[in-house]
């Protein structure tokens, strides 16, 4: 073996690449000089720059986790029907930019023929922002891409139309760490049982002090079990958050009895009208019924129908509920309000009604 072959290659620390090398030329030429836009139809944006240059964007849904064949199909469409440039949105939709209006229809036809739904713009339900799940994470309670595929099949019609009161952003997370983030609707794993500890493995696998430090409610303490140093959980204190599981896999939090799904509503990041808000608990303890999560989907659908029928234009889910009030929300959606909805965490008092503003 030559010495060159044995010497590893030094990385070229190039960092964040220059987007101008890949950007559509019309976007490059009008960078920072856009004036207004409209949407000729769902899934299509039409932007006009200050000097009158126009560009049309066609947005299509993808499965996010794509095989090279899917990517090459998208590239073929880009070469044949667009101008060889694409971009992806934060929610894994692909966008094709074209400089002529007459290129829009053939592009839409080509994408539709290959099964990519056109939409996700304006007041639609865009792609669910999701995580890794069973496909790639080391701690997941459920799958991510699978549940999302099922959900998107269900809301497909509202992806390709713009008939919601405002945009709807759905997120999913496959453990309580919640990589998925805030959403108008969030579907998140919510454990219901304390971890089951395999005491034989703890001392060899886990850095015990850092596991103790990880617990939000100080429920973990070092202990000798069967003559071996291990960890012990005060099950009365434990809030079943799963935070101890990643640093200490022998503290198994997942299981048929423990891994349930919860639905949260009313989160938003945008500053439009109301300040950004966190989503709030609506239902917990739903079964993790892969691959279609029918119990979850049924409730999501119910919430979406109530929102669509009752919210005023431009009210996001949380703003709609703020207007009609939580009592009416639970009534409309036919869901139960329990003591689990009363917050008990730091700052809980700020979530209580400190007034006589009562909805009747």
């Amino acid at each position: 073996m030559s010495e060159a072959a044995a010497t590893p290659r030094e990385p070229d620390e190039v960092g964040v690449p220059n987007p101008f090398d890949y950007m559509h030329p019309v976007l490059k030429d009008n960078f920072g000089n856009w004036d207004w836009h409209d949407r000729p139809r769902p899934g299509v944006l039409h932007h006009v720059s200050k000097d009158g240059t126009e560009v049309w964007t066609v947005r299509a849904g993808t499965q996010r986790q794509m095989d090279v064949y899917t990517i090459r199909t998208l590239c073929d469409i880009g070469d044949k029907f667009a101008e060889g440039h694409v971009r992806f949105t934060t929610r894994a939709n692909i966008e094709y930019m074209v400089s002529k209006e007459e290129m829009v229809d053939p592009l839409i036809e080509a994408l539709t023929a290959e099964g990519f739904p056109i939409g996700g713009t304006g007041n639609s339900i865009s792609m669910v922002s999701h995580t890794q799940g069973w496909l790639h994470c080391d701690i997941p309670g459920t799958d991510a891409s699978g549940v999302v595929k099922g959900l998107m099949d269900m809301v497909h019609d509202d992806f390709i139309k713009e008939e919601m009161p405002n945009r709807v952003r759905i997120t999913t997370s496959c453990c309580q760490i919640n990589c998925g983030g805030q959403g108008d609707i969030a579907i998140n794993v919510q454990y219901t049982k304390p971890p089951k500890i395999n005491h034989d493995l703890v001392s060899a696998t886990c850095e015990r002090p850092s596991v103790v430090a990880r617990c939000p409610v100080a429920a973990i303490r070092p202990a000798m079990v069967n003559g071996k140093p291990s960890l012990e959980v005060d099950e009365k204190k434990c809030i079943c958050c799963g935070a101890c599981y990643p640093p200490c896999p022998p503290m198994q939090i997942n299981g048929e009895e423990s891994t349930k799904l919860a639905i949260w509503v009313g989160g938003k990041h945008s500053n439009a009208r109301t300040k950004p808000t966190f989503h709030k608990l609506v239902v917990a303890n739903l079964p993790n019924n892969a691959p279609h999560w029918p119990e979850v989907n049924e409730i999501v659908k119910k919430i979406l129908v109530c929102y669509k029928e009752n919210a005023r234009d431009w009210e996001r889910m949380g703003e709609w509920i703020e207007r009609i009030g939580w009592p009416r929300f639970f009534e409309m959606t036919e869901l139960a309000f329990t003591h689990h909805h009363l917050d008990t965490w730091t700052g809980a008092r700020n979530t209580m009604n400190m007034s006589t503003h009562i909805h009747f």
């Binding site: 964040v16 499965q63 090279v68």
Partner: protein
């Protein structure tokens, strides 16, 4: 041996029906590619995923895999059920930083596909919640080769572990009239200045930057970044009264009043009797609602820049935190403005490195030490835009209140003086 025949996947098969594109169909295409080096790996991957669906459990564990010269950027995955699914026993992810705004040519995408067919699984996610392109499914041996090939076409690893993480920016300047600063410039200048913190993880925990061109915050910076740069403007918004009248005519007065005027959070709007719009710019908080709805008539002003909010994060361990205002406004126009931003970002990273406890995000650190101490450390003056309202608790020692008030008045005088001098 299961190796030459396909694993049965009755659960996954159900995810092939329906109108939405199916990732399962994609996985199967990879499995069925004759002669491909990744075909056996994808067969076993499908087998393990089906096994997860049946057992309702995940079967990956972490480990340590890295490329030469770097400490992070690879997410190692080793199968716990490799006995039954040997070809996918190693299934690591390379996190690769995309160009800001996620712009690609089809040539670039094809290049990436070719590299990933040669060294990896053929499965790529555009993009992870972290903002990276995720090249998912690589053996330990091939990780270095895949990275070298991607690196040679100008791409670099993103962040993982206790490190500076991959950033995200909205489409912004490239195709959005709301954009108030050059997101990709800020993004690249900051991240490329601190690459060492990304590639050689040595921070107490993760540190994320996100860049949104306006308060619509399309990349969710406010809640999902330790350091959020969100575009805004200081002067009056621009109103094209001809377009306003057109809009009123088109949708009707009632709609404009109900859906624009009445929805302004600070009651800053009023529809005049002649259907023109009156804006109380001192009350407007740049929420974007009226600009979003009356897109052609209203636009941001000329004196543009950004607000910086810090401390956003998800649950672990104190609960979710939104970012809060640390700099109400920074001007982002000249190269010097951007250099100042980079310098300020550096000070914040240094503070985090020196003061955060292990596994603590900066929002938690700020809460622990108190915002006043944090501001003092990074040399930022208190500002009423940082709060919803002043404190309500009397438990504070105020014996230097008068000195602090004097400083405030001095500062105000200096600001006013400078404005006068500049004119």
């Amino acid at each position: 041996m299961a190796n030459n025949s396909h694993h049965e996947t009755p659960n996954l098969d159900q995810l092939e029906a329906g109108p939405w594109p199916s990732f399962v169909t994609g996985l199967k295409r990879l499995r069925d590619t004759k002669g491909a080096q990744y075909a056996p790996m994808m067969n076993d991957l499908l087998g393990q995923l089906e096994h997860s669906y049946q057992k309702k459990m995940g079967f990956w564990k972490g480990g340590t895999v890295s490329v030469f010269g770097y400490g992070g950027g690879i997410i190692p995955r080793f199968s716990e059920v490799a006995k039954d699914y040997p070809a996918s026993k190693e299934f690591h992810t390379l996190r690769i930083m995309p160009p800001p705004g996620n712009h690609y040519t089809t040539d670039l995408l094809r290049n990436m596909c070719d590299i990933w067919e040669e060294h990896g699984s053929g499965l790529i996610a555009f993009h992870g919640q972290s903002g990276d392109i995720m090249f998912q499914g690589c053996t330990t041996e091939n990780t270095q080769k895949a990275f070298d090939a991607l690196n040679k076409i100008g791409f670099d690893l993103g962040g993982a572990g206790p490190a500076l993480r991959t950033a995200m920016s909205c489409v912004g300047h490239a195709r959005c009239e709301m954009s108030c600063y050059d997101e990709q410039k800020a993004h690249r200048e900051i991240i490329n200045e601190f690459l060492d913190e990304m590639h050689r993880p040595a921070l107490p925990y993760k540190f994320k930057f996100k860049f949104s061109g306006c308060p619509n915050d399309c990349v969710n910076a406010i809640h999902r970044a330790d350091f959020a740069v969100i575009g805004t403007w200081r002067d009056d918004m621009k109103v094209d009264q001809v377009e306003v009248k057109k809009y009123v005519k088109e949708v009707g007065r009632k709609y404009v009043i109900d859906s624009v005027i009445a929805m302004c959070p600070t009651r800053a709007l009023s529809l005049n009797d002649d259907d023109t719009l009156e804006v109380d710019n001192k009350s407007c908080v740049r929420c974007m609602h009226c600009l979003n709805v009356m897109n052609k008539a209203l636009s941001p002003g000329d004196d543009k820049g950004a607000s910086i909010l810090m401390g956003g994060k998800r649950s672990l361990k104190v609960g979710d935190l939104m970012g809060t205002v640390i700099k109400p406004f920074i001007k982002l126009d000249t190269d010097e403005d951007y250099e100042e931003l980079v310098e300020f970002a550096g000070e914040c990273i240094d503070f985090f490195a020196d003061n955060a406890l292990e596994h603590e995000r900066i929002g938690e650190t700020i809460d622990r030490v108190g915002l006043p101490s944090f501001l003092e450390a990074i040399e930022v003056d208190p500002d009423p835009n940082m709060v919803n309202h002043p404190r309500t608790s009397s438990y504070v020692r105020t014996d230097d209140f008068t000195d602090e008030a004097d400083k405030y008045f001095e500062r105000k005088a200096r600001e006013a003086g400078l404005t006068v001098a500049a004119e």
